[in-house]
Symmetry: D2
Subunit: 335 residues, 4 copies
């Protein structure tokens, strides 16, 4: 399998899902190696670069893409398998952006209070040790944290002619900001428009669940992805599979609705996959699910609900596609 | 002042705010008389027309427009004064759409329960008595309700290249579904793109606050609107003024956030308008505001916060523009 | 009808609904004239009295009561008719309490921001003009606002052995903070324990809907109340009736749940009262309700849903009890 | 160290936190071995025992206790170390209770829909294999699930004279329903009243995060607990420590507020514990926390935020008390 490399120029980035012409056509089965800039477009390079001066929140999370997947039609399932997601810079950046994040009032949770201090942190990448260095701004603390690369945004064009900011997670995927979007995972997203028009971006060298301050260790990334397509079977909301778990992602407000969406999706998925009555699937899932919060800071909050395959009846998703993609990934020279 | 009449053909409707080319250019100061179809595109004509069979929720609230306002630039304030909003059909329709509305689980408030029965109600318009007739579907009750016409959707193109469904209320206005959007009111909306690109639709012959079942007495409407423009002064969220009150509208989830947005907007508006410290404006507003809920059923919930001019210090909004528009409206032959 | 007067001493106040012994036994049909202190226990007497120094939020809203209503048993309906609610002091107080109220982070909406400045406002009562005077703290503004007296808290002992702070609105009533709790209104609350054990307090000389800053124009009050009892018929949540409207109150979080509770209660009430199918009652209520927010600042948020009797079929609540109470009120010498 | 055994009689259970006299006085340092009944009081013994017939939701989660801890005063920290939590019956029960749980409308998320079918599941305990058996009600599926015992409720008497149902999680602990409340964990709760008055119950043989259907594999339990007391240092919300993580628990509505509470608590804890500026602690926590949802079904939703000690600076909580308790636990003959 060949790998198509693609690095966008600055004016080739997209800032919405939908409403943007594709940068490339790809056939199902193709492997892509994509360069993506960080959420800030690379402008926070030192602790003196403040987000209030350098970042326009309408144009963050620059998207690499969109890609037109040949043959993809509304109702189909876009399949993206993450072969590798690797830091493409020697440093990552994080920031407490005024009135953005989880521990501050925002444009939605509107109060009359002053913002928290606009602060930037820079993390050095130690490639050998696979760590990034947290350096406190107000004391001498320095802590090496393991690199655990993931993509914050993976999405397709929405339905109904909408175009949504790359800050938004929704049915179409988007800015879900879950650490589960890592190498070794396969994501399934329903196709809404011809060609699917998927894009990726917002790489995180690591991120805590919830992404509390609103930003992770944001970093440019090189992502190797196998693109595939299943005709029909479009899930209503994004699904993720890895070697051990099946997962659903819900993104809405308030956060209990994100959970309800993801949990209802998982229950129905288990019910259908294993020929189990929906009440029995409800009961079983109630006793086995893990529920790691993804983000509580974006336009919608995202919650992941996951079930261990070991605690479910035997049965493959989409004919064992994930295992097949893992095999294909191994065949790539790059992994 | 001349009045430009415009009745769209079926293929001229828009179903998003943003992402659509304008149907007409208008100069500030122009009066428009616009025909708009009902939320369902006129397809629910008898109680046997069920929404599950006839309505695609991705394409409801057909918008008349968008209109390109000459000279409008980002940061300006679009001003729309509603001279008259009048029923344009002899009947209105309402429906309990499966998994849509306030007394049912939805795609967001996801549960495993069955939907409520898909039900349609048709209301006859009695033009002489200015009533619509509620006719119970399961008993002999019939009640005449006063016609109180309003527009559910009034909005401009969003910022950041977004295009949003005409089901959505947001910063750009949209599907706010407030009875305050009635004849005699002036609405102020911030301009995000050149020409503002405003549209209107979703006429309601009457609506309870909250729009509990998800639909009002939906009806085609003829709306006479004076379009004006104020350079600069763009409000962050829509504002409404009538002869007695100033109002702000917030639209988000959960509903307390909608209220927070609208209340913070009103406090800051009062502070700026009357030269009052923000803490004093906060205190004063706390004792005088009325807070009628607009909708609890759309993609975002909308809440109106209003203050009586009689309980505020003397002082005109935008130089008394609303009074001026009222005078201009009286000069139109149509009122 | 005689009127029993009762003014508590400082150590006779209750600070919870439930968990407190009654101060008096009353027979159904009794009229009470009750003195209640303000929410702060009268300690904020000048703008230099700061809430952070003088107020313990665990002991606010001192309750006059509880009263044991003879014959009241779980499942019965306690009926309180407000004959008169009149200011009992020459001044009222309001405050922006740190981390309390709607335009600030709180102990629930936890952020890392600094609080708003702790500020107190004192309002003079002008009995002749029936106004209270708002006096800005940071400018020369002074505005006379009409006195519109109401009780913030009216409640009974909860079920299940619970005792709840007088800051809490819930099924048992409590700190609903709705301006609808005014003279001329009748409130219906379900009885949970023998004797009902109702109490009142938290008088407001006036209050905006939402009670945005967390406190109204708080004032000591003299309330004349007729106490009555209907065997059975306990509503799940508090109901209010006045001459023109029937109303329900929901109190929960998030605010859409408060609305859902109140709206579902009203729909079921209309359905039962008028022999209308619940789907028809749902439709009718959707077109006629008004939804004034009560508070967005307490332990639970409260929302009122009201329907005009003029837009409902003919039919009396509980055999016309409200009209009867109005007549009884007129017979009292005090009105 | 001796171990005091206590098994309540049926009339010795408590159903509230607060408002109940203690069953026993214990000295700090005491080890208790407590028997607790299941959430249903043991009445669901076969799949034909339906919750609608047998369970009164006002009296579930029977509490073993409360225990009066000698010397405990408001502002102190109650410390409970779970030495062992072991199933005390051969079966557990779970149920989909009508209008209770996460995938249904409830008394709060009020809709007009029908409830899900009232259904009971019984799980056999296989002590040798340490599994419970899920048996589908509508198909032949049977799955052995690992026993992972935990306590749903651990709490003290609330402040301000409140008494709260044992269904409620709050500042005082209570029905948090987190799988982190397992053997090997130490919980810290602030003392509100003299003697603390703690109780435990609601054992779960296993539970998925979120407790989606509203009930876990509910089972009677034998819990061995070391009770300790730290003067002062009362945390505002419950904290948990195990060998690898420190954790905070927030319980409120909507769920983002539960998270905000827990996250703000963790940030401040890390800041204080490690002498780190709160903005730096905010940043560090943002990159390292795990956020497993505890429950989305109780009166308040509970969210856990946890940080790995390995990713924090070196530094012991309360002088290494947890490690000391682990050592004391090992010295008990029972482990």
């Amino acid at each position: 399998m060949d790998v198509i490399e693609y690095t966008p120029t600055r004016d080739q980035y997209a800032y919405t899902f939908g409403g943007v012409a594709p940068v490339m056509r790809v056939k199902p089965g193709t492997a892509l190696r994509l360069w993506s800039d960080d959420a800030f477009g690379g402008v926070l390079r030192s602790v003196d670069d403040l987000s209030s001066a350098k970042v326009d929140l309408r144009f963050v999370n620059p998207q690499t893409g969109p890609f037109y997947v040949e043959g993809a039609e509304p109702g189909d399932t876009l399949v993206l398998h993450f072969v590798a997601i690797e830091p493409a810079r020697e440093w990552g950046a994080s920031a407490a952006i005024p009135f953005f994040g989880g521990m501050t009032s925002t444009d939605r949770i509107a109060t009359l209070q002053e913002p928290l201090p606009d602060t930037t942190w820079i993390y050095d990448v130690d490639s050998a040790r696979r760590t990034v260095g947290f350096v406190a701004r107000h004391s001498d603390h320095r802590i090496e944290l393991p690199i655990e690369p993931m993509l914050g945004t993976v999405g397709v064009a929405p339905t109904g002619g909408e175009a949504r900011s790359s800050l938004v997670p929704e049915r179409f995927g988007g800015n879900m900001d879950t650490p589960e979007m890592r190498a070794g995972s396969t994501v399934y997203v329903g196709v809404n428009v011809e060609g699917a028009l998927f894009s990726i971006g917002d790489g995180h060298y690591r991120q805590g669940e919830g992404e509390a301050c609103g930003t992770a260790v944001e970093g440019a990334m090189t992502s190797t992805i196998i693109v595939d397509l299943v005709k029909g079977h479009a899930p209503a909301w994004p699904r993720i599979e890895d070697d051990t778990h099946i997962m659903t992602v819900g993104s809405s407000r308030p956060m209990e609705d994100s959970w309800r969406i993801a949990n209802a999706e998982l229950v129905r998925w288990v019910s259908l996959l294993h020929g189990m009555h929906v009440m029995d699937a409800y009961q079983l899932c109630s006793q086995i699910t893990q529920v790691p919060v993804a983000n509580v800071v974006d336009a919608n909050y995202s919650v992941v609900v996951k079930a261990a395959k070991a605690l479910l009846p035997t049965g493959d998703v989409l004919g064992g596609l994930h295992a097949d993609l893992r095999a294909r990934a191994r065949s790539l020279g790059t992994v």
